[in-house]
């Protein structure tokens, strides 16, 4: 693209200053022509490479891949679509959705090649990469893309993408989060108060979250951990270090206050949504998103088709079930260890001195 410009630069010097202006104008035209030509070449390259791509369609999902990744693309499309449909139901096929475009490419060939639609989710595939890994990457990327379709209040409340695991799959960290949360509501929830659970999950609207969700110690901790708070700020210091609760409240209240988040981790809310979606069936997410004006708790009730208490109870059971096994020995493990020690000890007694 710059070569014609270089060739023209020599005559420009020879022409002298009188013809310089004309030459500059001519050079500018030529530069623009060259840029257009380059752009055209690029578009032809894109077209050529896109023609070489294989396309695999499953429902509303389109997977683009070069020929050597076609088998992988089929596997990824099957797995990903089944998982998305299993959790997101009919919503993922809704007309308002654009097709979900996934572009697989060999990561050894650098960045994603030309030819993919601008909104395609590019998934790099390493040599020898297993189908499970590529499918997992694709699912994670797509659920994050689908998150942008959620309305503002639901998006802000949820905080993370909805995973495609079944409703019974919950991370052990949720139990740890529940028992170590600074909020008194979490402690009430832990011992079985479903109302406290609902409040700790942010399902019940409250006029003053700063005082309803946290006590004084919890407010200090909240401010200490807020990422967008500068610890050196005088007011934050007064709240956190000097433990002046009025200052904490001032920071957490008012129109210019820092946003107070529900006490439990976003993953807890994500589990609740997943439980609601699996309880409500294929139309659950549609129902949830079709009522943006309602409180979150009511929307989840509509989606799940069961009362909020039942929904929260299921969530509570799922979280308590993730309690990690402590160092305490179960009788089974203890007895088996003793039996094995006895068996191995008997082998010792049966050893002979005569064989070397």
């Amino acid at each position: 693209m710059s070569r014609p410009g270089a060739f023209l630069f020599v005559p420009l010097l020879l022409a002298g200053s009188s013809g310089a202006a004309q030459n500059v104008a001519r050079l500018e035209r030529m530069w623009k022509d060259a840029a257009r030509a380059s752009s055209h070449v690029d578009s032809i390259t894109r077209l050529r490479e896109s023609i070489e791509l294989d396309t695999v369609r499953r429902g509303n999902l389109v997977v683009l891949a070069p020929g050597d990744l076609e088998a992988l693309a089929v596997d990824v499309a099957d797995t990903t679509w089944a998982r998305l449909e299993g959790t997101y139901g009919d919503q993922v096929k809704a007309p308002r959705h654009r097709p979900l475009v996934v572009a697989l490419y060999r990561s050894t060939k650098g960045p994603a090649p030309y030819g993919y639609a601008p909104d395609a989710v590019a998934i790099p595939v390493a040599n020898g990469s297993a189908q499970q890994m590529a499918a997992a990457q694709t699912v994670i990327a797509l659920v994050n893309a689908l998150r942008t379709d959620f309305d503002g209040p639901f998006h802000r409340w949820l905080g993370v993408a909805i995973r495609t695991d079944t409703a019974s799959v919950a991370r052990a960290e949720l139990y740890e989060d529940l028992v170590t949360s600074p909020s008194p509501l979490a402690r009430g929830c832990y011992v079985g108060s479903l109302r406290d659970c609902a409040e700790a999950l942010g399902l019940i609207p409250t006029q003053d979250p700063a005082t309803r969700w946290y006590d004084a110690a919890g407010r200090r901790e909240l401010l200490r951990n807020l990422l967008f708070v500068t610890p050196s700020d005088a007011l934050v210091k007064e709240c956190v270090d000097a433990e002046i609760d009025a200052v904490c409240l001032r920071l957490l209240r008012g129109p210019d206050s820092l946003r107070v988040t529900p006490p439990l981790a976003p993953e807890s809310r994500e589990l609740l949504v997943r439980i609601a979606l699996h309880a409500g069936g294929r139309r659950a997410l549609q129902l949830l998103l079709d009522n943006p004006g309602q409180p979150i708790g009511r929307r989840l009730e509509l989606a799940a088709g069961i009362p909020m208490d039942s929904l929260v109870r299921r969530w509570h059971t799922a979280v308590l079930a993730t309690r990690p096994a402590s160092v305490d020995l179960s009788p089974g493990v203890g007895w088996v260890a003793l039996v094995w020690a006895l068996v191995l000890g008997t082998l010792v007694l049966g050893s002979s001195r005569w064989r070397f």
Binding site: T180, S326, V336, A337, A341, L344, G345, G350, R353
Partner: protein, 218 residues
């Protein structure tokens, strides 16, 4: 006879046992390091639990190492002396083996006891937030059982013939070499995981080694 055997085994292994006992005493206290968890935030508590879980791997490793040390030092000198000492004793073989095995168990009690005392001290000195519990006795009990199983396993190998030890080591090597060969052949066949599961998952012989080894836990 038992006292003599205990004394000789102590003489053979005392340096290593003392080091093991010191390590058993140090691990709980070092791992708990922070004295006041009651006033820290929940984020710190969760980070602390993750750190504690990472350090917890030291317990089963120490139990295994102690079992190895005591198992090998109890029988090594007999092998080196071509079993002459054992043959001169007016005892049937099984009684001699029982005395050796029991003497090793007595010596094993030292690090176990040290760990229990240390865990009790560490638990008493740490302030915990609501939701966390200390498990000093459960930890010591698990450690004792793990060390016992390791000691019995290594004793069974060490008390046997060189051929027995060769068979055991060869079996492990065969599994590992086969796995490497399968991996190099670009197959996805995994033979190590099922073997490891059979050994480390209940009711496998080393199931007591698995799980979370945490003095402080939810």
């Amino acid at each position: 006879m038992f006292r003599t055997m205990l004394f000789t085994q102590w003489t053979w292994a005392r340096s290593l046992i003392l080091v093991g006992t010191l390590a058993a005493f140090a691990i709980p206290i070092v791992s708990v390091h922070s004295g006041d968890l009651g006033s820290v935030d929940s984020f710190t508590v969760r980070t602390y639990l993750v750190t504690l879980q990472g350090l917890g791997i030291a317990y089963p490793i120490l139990a295994g190492v102690l079992g190895l040390i005591l198992g090998v030092t109890a029988w090594g000198p007999d092998h080196q002396g071509r079993h002459v000492y054992a043959l001169t004793r007016p005892l049937p073989r099984w009684q001699y083996a029982l005395l050796r095995f029991t003497a090793g168990l007595v010596l094993l009690a030292l690090p176990v006891f040290a760990l229990w005392i240390s865990a009790l001290i560490a638990s008493a000195t740490v302030k915990l937030p609501v939701g966390l519990t200390t498990y000093p006795t459960a930890l010591a009990l698990r450690f004792a059982l793990a060390a016992l199983v390791a000691y019995a396993a290594f004793s069974a190998v060490a008390a046997g013939t060189s051929r027995t030890a060769a068979y055991v080591l060869s079996s492990i090597a065969v599994v590992l070499i086969a796995q490497v060969a399968l991996s190099m052949a670009a197959t996805e066949i995994d033979i190590v995981s099922p073997v490891a599961a059979a050994v480390f998952v209940w009711p496998g012989p080393l199931a007591v080694f698995s799980g979370r080894w945490m003095l402080i836990d939810v």
